[in-house]
């Protein structure tokens, strides 16, 4: 049976790993390649790097960074952040990413998931979903959690899977960076649907 995986998820801004709480109060915590190497040596099974850069300049830094990560670490890694076209995905694949994750752009245009999965396979496509619980309903947010959408978490996870996403990367905005009580219920429900 496939083993449970430990997958550290690193937010990157301008080449550096940053850490926040509930998506805010970011502080720099280290070099992206160096931290990836350390996590892999300590037994991580995979890594996720999310580019949370705001500007174009920072984005091009990230593309170069992906190439250095691919050369530096010996485990699979996913990259995401700002991927909005098949070309974006292809560029990151060329640089050595094992998988890409889509988020806001897929909510705006769900066909993006189908396009990438049809071209490169489901194993290459992760759908990242940031959601928060409002009046008992889990609603999907986009743009780093800053925009609330009308989409409901479980129906979106199901659609993403049907369109060819191989994995779902779920983040609870209510728990981000706070450690205890990550809503395992949601993960179980997402897996069932």
């Amino acid at each position: 049976m496939v083993t449970k995986r430990i997958i550290p998820c690193l937010d990157v801004k301008g080449g550096l790993v940053v850490k926040g709480i509930n998506f805010e109060g970011l502080r720099e915590v280290g070099d992206a390649v160096g931290m990836g190497v350390r996590y892999s040596e300590e037994g991580a099974d995979e890594l996720v790097y999310l580019d949370i850069s705001a500007s174009k300049e920072e984005r091009s830094t990230f593309t170069e960074l992906v190439e250095r990560i691919a050369l530096g670490i010996n485990i699979p890694f996913t990259v995401g952040g700002g991927i909005s076209s098949l070309e974006d995905a292809a560029r990151l694949l060329d640089r050595g990413a094992d998988k890409i994750s889509v988020n806001s752009a897929a909510i705006a245009r769900p066909q993006l998931i189908s396009d990438i999965a049809d071209r490169y396979g489901s194993q290459f496509v992760v759908c990242a979903i940031d959601a928060k619980c409002i009046d008992g309903v889990w609603r999907v947010t986009t743009h780093g959690g800053s925009r609330l959408t009308e989409r409901e978490l479980f129906s979106w996870a199901r659609e993403a899977q049907e369109r060819g996403a191989g994995e779902i990367l779920f983040t609870s905005m209510d728990h981000d960076g706070t450690r205890p009580d990550t809503p395992a219920n949601n993960t179980r429900r997402s897996r069932r649907c």
Partner: protein, 195 residues
């Protein structure tokens, strides 16, 4: 020098990156002379077996690879191409390993593609020197090679026990990705390089 066969078979950067990390001299090439003279040959492969086989034939490399006498390692689809045939596109392959490649049959609670870290069993080759039984390695595939006399490692996905690695004479193949399997994978690559 290690020749990595360049035949437009998907993303093979992970293989060249792994050899860079290990400090091993390699050349990415489709030149028959370079491949023939190399100490070792790696046949990578990602994606569709039928398209990969077509591409290998179009470059005139099928007969060359079958004729090699130095150690050859097929990885993932590269390994599948060394089997008799593949259900993926119903393609006839190189017929080096004595088995056929089939699609995983769907079962409740068992995901296809088989993707992630899974344990190796029944290790039986110098390729796995110093590798403990039940070591985990990284797999990404929807098709598998069955068990046969050439099987040198097994793995289980759902109710299917399949060949995680194969060997016939100087030909080796791994269904998993040693270049993505951390320290265990690096050890396996170094074992191959040291053959």
């Amino acid at each position: 020098m290690i020749a990595i066969v360049d035949y437009d078979a998907g993303n093979i950067k992970s293989v060249t990156n792994a050899l860079e990390r290990l400090g091993v001299e390699y050349k990415l090439t489709a030149d028959p002379d370079v491949i023939r003279r190399a100490d070792k040959v790696i046949l990578p492969g990602v994606g569709n077996a039928s398209a990969a086989m077509e591409s290998l034939r179009a470059k005139g490399l099928e007969a060359l690879i079958r004729s090699l006498r130095q150690p050859v390692l097929g990885i993932c689809v590269g390994m599948q191409l060394m089997c008799r045939s593949s259900e993926e596109g119903g393609v006839k392959c190189m017929d080096i390993f004595d088995c056929d490649v089939r699609r995983f049959v769907p079962e409740p609670g068992v995901k296809v593609p088989h993707m992630g870290w899974n344990a190796l069993g029944n290790l039986g080759s110098k390729l796995f020197r110093d590798i403990a039984d039940a070591s985990c390695v990284y797999f990404v595939h929807s098709f598998y090679a069955g068990l046969c006399q050439d099987t040198i490692a097994t793995c289980r996905h759902g109710s299917t026990l399949f060949s995680a690695a194969l060997k016939y004479e100087n030909f080796y193949g791994t269904q998993f990705h040693p270049e993505k399997s951390g320290a265990v994978g690096e050890r396996i690559l170094m074992n191959f390089i040291g053959l």
